[in-house]
Symmetry: C2
């Protein structure tokens, strides 16, 4: 079986590589809109499947496609990718001193079989951040490609993240233990 990772995220590609299984990475253009009534983990569940649907027509017999989506969920609201510095600032200010959830959904597709999706959740607690800390992070690390305006593996994750419950790799965007477990059953 050939594994195809449908993600352009360098973090996901790096984590997938760490599983010591050969794979090919592709970029999938999918519509990432979702029904407004969806909450929490149901949002990445929906989007990871939309990504899978956008590519499944190209799948061959001996291939497994893996797609994923990650969201940051704070007190009933989704934080997506910030469009500019002001939005990144507002997100990090909102996360400061609170516990939020990171949900990642991973979808597996094989030609002629039903799609399988797993969802992982991690609780992440941030300490109180000063304005200076938030501004340093945004200016130096430019987190505009990251849900919730932060990368846990970067400076802000080092200084802000006082407690986590669940998988750290899920917060990075790819719950590798669930991916490994699912692939073990499929390969």
């Amino acid at each position: 079986m050939e594994i195809i990772l449908g993600s352009q995220s360098p973090r996901r590609r790096e984590l997938m590589a760490g599983l010591d299984l050969p794979f090919t990475a592709v970029t999938i253009d999918a519509d990432e809109h979702y029904p407004a009534e969806l909450q929490g983990g149901d949002i990445p569940y929906y989007i990871s499947r939309a990504k899978a649907h956008a590519y499944e027509g190209k799948l061959k017999e001996d291939q497994i496609l893996i797609t994923a989506d990650t969201i940051v969920w704070l007190e009933g609201q989704m934080l997506g990718k910030p469009h500019d510095e002001a939005e990144a600032y507002a997100m990090l200010r909102a996360l400061s001193g609170k516990t939020h959830q990171v949900f990642t959904a991973v979808t597996f597709v094989q030609k002629g079989k039903a799609m399988e999706t797993v969802v992982d959740k991690t609780d992440v607690t941030f300490c109180e951040l000063t304005d200076e800390e938030i501004r340093h992070y945004i200016q130096k690390y430019r987190p505009f490609d990251k849900a919730g305006a932060y990368g846990v593996q970067e400076w802000i994750g080092y200084i802000a993240c006082t407690e986590m419950k669940g998988s750290y790799f899920n917060v990075m965007g790819f719950p590798v233990h669930l991916v490994y477990k699912a692939l073990k059953q499929m390969l």
Copy 2:
């Protein structure tokens, strides 16, 4: 103030570098024996202070020395660094399917001031591992320099670690959020 990190661990040096504060790294030779009655977090507390004592005579006025020690604690027993493949196998077999604790102590020293030590704890849950998985890891990754015979940032951490409570960086050997907090008060 000049920060001196007294550790030869590449993981600690990398994590310290991620705090965006300039530092120098030195190697400290200290006696790592500890009183047999010590339990859990009191063991790295004692050893990180022994490392600090071994170097503090060399400290100058404008320097802060940071030392650290990490242990893996499973059901009332300490797992140190394995001496050979058989010992590494025994440790990973013992960790399989269970929750253990990782304790890291970090000691801060300034000339003429009282030593300060902080201790962090993370609960780490491993899934059940097969013999094949344990042997693949030991043979490919050679975890002989690692407490408990594993590196959480390596393949075994990806596949085995289903749940964590506390700081991931603490499990890597350096609770960066506590180091940052302590340095913020000292600098």
